[in-house]
Each structure stands twice: as C-alpha cells, then as structure tokens.
Subunit: 83 residues, 2 copies
C-alpha cells in the first residue's frame, strides 16, 4: 500500500457537512475497493480539496472516489515520503 495525495479543484463553497459526507461515503466503500481513506482538507474559498489515502495504485484512488459518488480528483500523486 502506498499513500496518495489527491487534489480536487472547482469546489468553491464546499461545507463542513459536505466534506463529512464525502468521508462517510469513502469509509463505506473503502474495503470493497481495497483503499484506506485517512484525511481530507478543504479550502472553500479557492475550491481546493486535498485527500490523503492509502491504496495499491492511482486507479484504486480513482475507484474510491467513483464508487463513493464523489468528485473524481483532478490530480493524484503518490507520496511515498512523509514526516
């Protein structure tokens, strides 16, 4: 499993409730797709959302978003290094 940071643009006005719903939806399907959602951070003003996930591949991160009914990320980067 590798850690991935994905980035969503164009989500201006996202609320705490919407972010929480996205988290719940991801947690509900993460075992099915073989991923583990860790965290998400959102900037409602610029419309940017960052999600941190453990998964086997970029494709699995994509699937996690698709199956949880969320917006598909604009960028997905593996982040093998962290401190």
């Amino acid at each position: 499993m590798t850690r991935f940071m994905d980035v969503h643009h164009g989500m201006q006005g996202i609320t705490a409730e919407q972010l929480q719903q996205g988290r719940q939806a991801a947690l509900a399907v993460e075992r099915e797709v073989g991923a583990h959602f860790e965290h998400a951070w959102a900037d409602p003003e610029s419309g940017t959302v960052y999600c941190l996930t453990e998964a086997a591949s970029t494709e699995v991160v994509q699937q996690l978003h698709e199956r949880s009914g969320g917006n598909v990320p604009d960028e997905i980067h593996s982040v093998p290094l962290s401190v």
Copy 2:
C-alpha cells in the same frame, strides 16, 4: 490559528533525509514565527511536496519556509475544513 496546506513543485528526486531535514528546520524556527508545522508528504517522481501547517496567516507560512532555509512554496491555501 488556521491550518494551511502549501504545495512545492519542481522538487524531483527529494529524499527522505531532505524531507526530514526540512521538518527539523521548520520545528527549530516555528515558535519564533508563530507557526506550527504538522506534516509533510513528498512525491519525488513528480517533484511535489505538500506541507500542513498551523499559522495565523499565509505570510506566516511563507516566513516559516524562508527562515528555515527551505524552498518557498508555490501555492499556499488555508484549509479551514478537515475530516
């Protein structure tokens, strides 16, 4: 204090040691500038580094990077929402 996600581009080949040195440098000056470094994640392949910091403003996040001798981020977004 607000949480900020900043993004660095062009850091291809960054190593675990360099990321760790950046963390140590940030921790050494964070009180002086009034910030708190939380985490950083790096993708050596695309050269992208994400840093999560608590600070009073974008300017303080900028100062934290400048005074710790690190690369100044290309983007700084406040991320008031998190899950």
